[in-house]
Amino acid sequence: MHIPDGFLDLSICSVMYVATAIFWIFAFRKASRVLNEKQIPLMATLTAMFFAAQMMNYPIIGGTTAHLLGGPILAMTLGPYAGLISMTIILLIQALLFGDGGITTFGANVWNMGVIGVFVPYIVYLLATRMSRSRSGLLLGAFAGALIGDVLAAVFAGLELGLSTLSFPYGVSIAVTAMATHHLIIGIGEGIVTAIIISMLQRTRQDLLQLPKLSPSWLGGT
């Protein structure tokens, strides 16, 4: 889902940088006030783990491959603002050092994977756990959150491509359909892995799931 340079019109790139910057401001301000000594090693560990996990490409349909994004687990353990900061660091290193994702499209990539791919899973997970306190509610929320977040991130990537009429003249419907179809499969994989990890944490390190979350106050943040 890493959009390279040249695929998006500069106007779309600019809009996406501005939209993402608004979230960056809130995320860094919140983190500077709330981040504690217990969260920092967990944040560093999970960020490194998902950077490494993104190197594992497993085959899916149509001869393509997929890899974990990790945003949902980051959001569910540390909160969406921490997830956004982590994904920003991963995407920045990938773009600058490896050319995985563009520089002009960096704002769009962070928006798709670091805002949509983090906030949507967190909101779905939060709603599910508020509706049902049971273990199945928790796991269903983790699975559904990751799945919906992944598909919506792909839909946004498709929209950005489809609206870039100068660079990618194939229209919104073609771009969104192509991205969403494949990412439905990828999202199921992300959902299963997310539910398994959340389940393991609940059994072995419940304290890590109960850390204060770096999230907006309207999402129950501290």
């Binding site: 889902m1 890493h2 390279p4 340079d5 040249g6 695929f7 860094f28 983190a31 500077s32 006030r33 709330v34 981040l35 504690n36 000594e37 217990k38 920092i40 090693p41 967990l42 944040m43 560093a44 560990t45 999970l46 960020t47 490194a48 783990m49 950077f51 490494a52 996990a53 190197m55 594992m56 490409n57 497993y58 149509g62 001869g63 393509t64 491959t65 997929a66 900061i85 982590s86 660091i89 991963i90 290193i93 773009a95 600058l96 050092l97 490896f98 050319g99 995985d100 563009g102 520089i103 002009t104 990537a157 660079s167 990618f168 194939y170 771009a175 192509a178 991205m179 494949h182 990828i186």
Partner: protein, 96 residues
């Protein structure tokens, strides 16, 4: 603090395992977006020449040892960078 160190060590070991599995078994990357773009005839226009394009050092393409080394080194870079960002943000809190 000891718990934090244990967590960092555990995460690092797991990350190295991910890198090794990724390089040795799942390194072939054909992303949906790349395939869709190729199918539709869209082309990249890079504005930046990355030092390690596609996670491979020039002259060592396809060399598993070099790719594992890159994966491990930059996983540590990500770990340290995130830790440093977290500490800096925390120091803002202490000063405020």
């Amino acid at each position: 603090m000891a718990g934090g160190r244990r967590l960092l060590a555990f995460g690092l070991v797991l990350s190295i395992a991910f890198v090794m599995v990724g390089v040795l078994g799942f390194s072939n990357s054909v992303e949906t977006l790349d395939q869709v773009a190729e199918h539709l005839g869209a082309t990249e226009s890079p504005v930046w020449s990355p030092p390690i394009p596609d996670y491979e050092i020039h002259g060592f393409e396809g060399n598993a040892t070099a790719n594992i080394a890159i994966g491990i080194v930059f996983t540590v870079v990500v770990l340290v960078s995130t830790y440093a960002v977290g500490k800096s943000l925390r120091s803002f809190k202490s000063r405020a």
